[in-house]
């Protein structure tokens, strides 16, 4: 049971540069999104969210039907469908495929699902060379880090750090201008695109009625990845489905606005099957890998299965005051922010990182901006009670539970509640209390009080409670 990573979190909190980088870049996205979903620009925004929620709910509730429909359509178009239980099965398939195609170079566009099982590292262990072609992911891969953010993987890095990294890893002359850094990456990647035998992409949506994988990107690398190599492999979680192409009218309007504050991404690609006889480009072979990797476990939970509605826009991260403080690397898994806090415990088991659902002030900003209306705070609360129950089974947490039991008992006994308050206040506000607070209070500086004082001052304590004041007031009024 990994403990709360306090040391790492305190390091992040005291890193002024990082704090500023995360707060300002997410802040910029907050402002951009807000403009684009405002009543003046998109009056139907709330309706779109309702619609998106309904479509996702319908799809997830009928996932078996739509998955089969999708499979038959992909096959109809000459593609092949693979069902994988976990990442290991995906790796096995890719290793075999690479051997068959006699290639070890694989280009890849951005995909969170492949991060779930550390695909790149595992392929490298088999002697393959997977290359990330999204600029942010390319940087992260060179740095051997995991994405800092679902949409902006290198959010935490400065151009100066990137300059160092490029010089060290690519052997180029140091370059601090972002446009020129992009050109360096482009030159490296161009060669990879031209020589790769396999291109791997993710999918933002899978359309059941047509068998298309839909990809929303900004850099053009996704198109290159899916068309240049002879073999195109789409890897997607089974929850990525939408029933009809026309549902995309809803989702595409929401996705880019929520993610990056753009009306649409620069490219929206519909990828369905290999090149057909009369087409001049496109891959010779098309595979769709449908990955479970724990999703069916989520599906089994009636209350929490709405977590599968997520379209990975990252908006909840941008708006989360906790993510904006602790950043992306203090979360235990690849998904950070509020969405990470609800899906990680469900994929990995609540006892894997029991602190995670508690890392929230429950401010609700995440749910307010979620384009598919996942009730994130509600799920966090459910997970908190699941964590407590799991801890109890392991005979942990008994003290806290005892305290809450005692507290609940006290709350049913108003007279004792009042007495407790009076005693506390008598001690702390007595005339000689200056001395008392200084001398006695330190002994009580344990638990919650100690935690409060660590960061904030205590409020001045009143001499009388409201109920005492009220009784006195009623007495005077009667006279």
């Amino acid at each position: 049971m990994p403990a709360f990573p306090l040391v790492q979190i305190e390091e992040t909190l005291s890193n002024d540069y990082l704090q500023n980088a995360v707060y300002t870049s997410t802040g910029r996205l907050i402002v951009k999104r807000k403009d684009l979903v405002s009543g003046a620009v998109l009056p139907e925004y709330q309706e779109l969210r309702d619609q998106a929620n309904r479509i996702k709910r319908h799809t997830i509730e009928n996932l078996d039907y739509y998955l089969e429909q999708l499979e038959s359509k992909v096959v109809e178009r000459g593609g092949k469908v693979l069902w994988c239980r976990d990442g290991g099965e995906v790796v096995d398939f890719l290793v075999k495929l690479a051997a068959e195609k006699n290639t070890n170079l694989i280009v890849k566009s951005k995909s969170m699902v492949t991060e779930e099982f550390g695909m790149n590292e595992r392929l490298a262990q088999h002697g393959l060379e997977p290359v990330e072609t999204d600029l942010g992911e390319f940087i992260i891969q060179l740095a051997h880090e995991k994405p800092y953010h679902i949409v902006l993987p290198a959010l935490h890095m400065t151009r100066y750090q990137v300059a160092d990294l490029f010089t060290e890893k690519l052997g180029v002359e140091r370059e601090e201008v972002i446009e020129k850094q992009t050109k360096i990456a482009r030159a490296v990647l161009r060669q990879k695109f031209l020589h790769a035998g396999i291109g791997i992409t993710g999918a933002n949506f899978l359309v059941a009625e047509s068998g298309a994988a839909v990809m929303a990107t900004n850099e053009g690398n996704g198109r290159f990845t899916s068309t240049a190599p002879k073999v195109h492999v789409v890897i997607a979680g089974i929850e990525k489905l939408v029933p009809r192409a026309k549902d995309l009218a809803t989702f595409l309007k929401l996705l880019a606005r929520s993610a990056t504050g753009q009306p649409l991404t620069v490219y929206t690609s519909f990828l369905s099957g290999p090149r057909r006889p009369n087409e001049i480009d496109g891959p010779e072979e098309f595979y769709l890998v449908l990955l479970d990797n724990g999703r069916t476990k989520l599906l089994a939970d009636r209350e929490k299965r709405q977590s599968l509605y997520c379209i990975r826009c990252g908006s909840c991260l941008n708006h989360c005051p906790v993510y904006r403080k602790i950043g992306g690397h203090n979360y235990p898994w690849v998904y950070s922010g509020p969405i990470g806090s609800i899906i990680t415990p469900q994929y990995q088991g609540v006892m894997q990182s029991p602190w995670l659902p508690f890392a929230s002030s429950l401010c609700g900003a995440c749910a307010e901006v979620c384009p598919v209306k996942i009730e994130i705070p509600k799920l966090l609360l459910l997970l908190r009670s699941e964590v407590n129950k799991a801890k109890e089974k392991e005979h942990k947490n008994w003290l806290e539970h005892l305290i809450f039991r005692g507290w609940a008992w006290l709350m049913r006994h108003p007279k004792l509640f009042e007495l407790g308050g009076m005693m506390g206040s008598a001690v702390l506000t007595a005339p000689e209390s200056g001395g008392l607070i200084r001398n006695v209070l330190p002994f009580f500086r344990v638990g919650p009080l100690k935690a409060w004082i660590k960061e904030r001052d205590l409020p001045p304590l009143p001499e009388k409670s409201f109920r005492q004041l009220w009784r006195e007031r009623e007495r005077t009024e009667k006279h």
Binding site: C363, V387, A408, P414, W470
Partner: protein
Amino acid sequence: MGRRVSLFVTCIVDELYPNVGVAMADVLERLGYEIDFPPAQTCCGQPAFNSGYRDEARTVARHFLNVFRDAECIVVPSGSCTSMITHHFQELFEKEPEWLELTRKVETRIWEFTKFLIEVAKVEDVGARLERVATFHDSCHALRTLGIKEGPRRLLSKVRGLELRELDPPEECCGFGGTFSVKMPEISGAMGRTKVDAIVRTGADLVIGLDASCLMQIQGSLSRAGHSISTMHIAEVLASR
């Protein structure tokens, strides 16, 4: 609706900020309401609910419902406690039809203080005067769960002598979050400091809020950072003469 209102002052106001309760009673009395304070009241159960102890939360919620079962109109100086009752009691009593029915009855009669003034008492000018430059903190549950945004601003705009300056960025959590503030004080404290920075940028010397809990976090963070900016609950502002 009668002219009698029952106060649920919340445990934090009862024990730590009694003047907020007194101020709320003063404002309501001046508007002609007869005030009732059921002395058996304690807490809404939110601390246990938010900490993942649903059985304990249910125990306290039942006590609350018993105390207020016959109240015609309940007014609360907190968006957070109000939202606990109106939005989470149902979840707690999903499998207990009797308590669910009582919840449904009580939750239609419960009002956050400013929402009560605007929507029930239908008043904006309560005759208050306060010569200060202030900023207003939207508490998250009032804002996002109860949809309270304009009401408090309308009430404050009628306070003579008060200049209100908006926070930028608006609508950010102060970092309190109930037990979160003591379970993860480092993160909560960092959020508090960001709030303090935003408050200082407004140039105001007073922060007004709807929830004593947020104000405790904000005041504690302000004072820890060495600022002399003070905090007031909106009831205290509206009771000022």
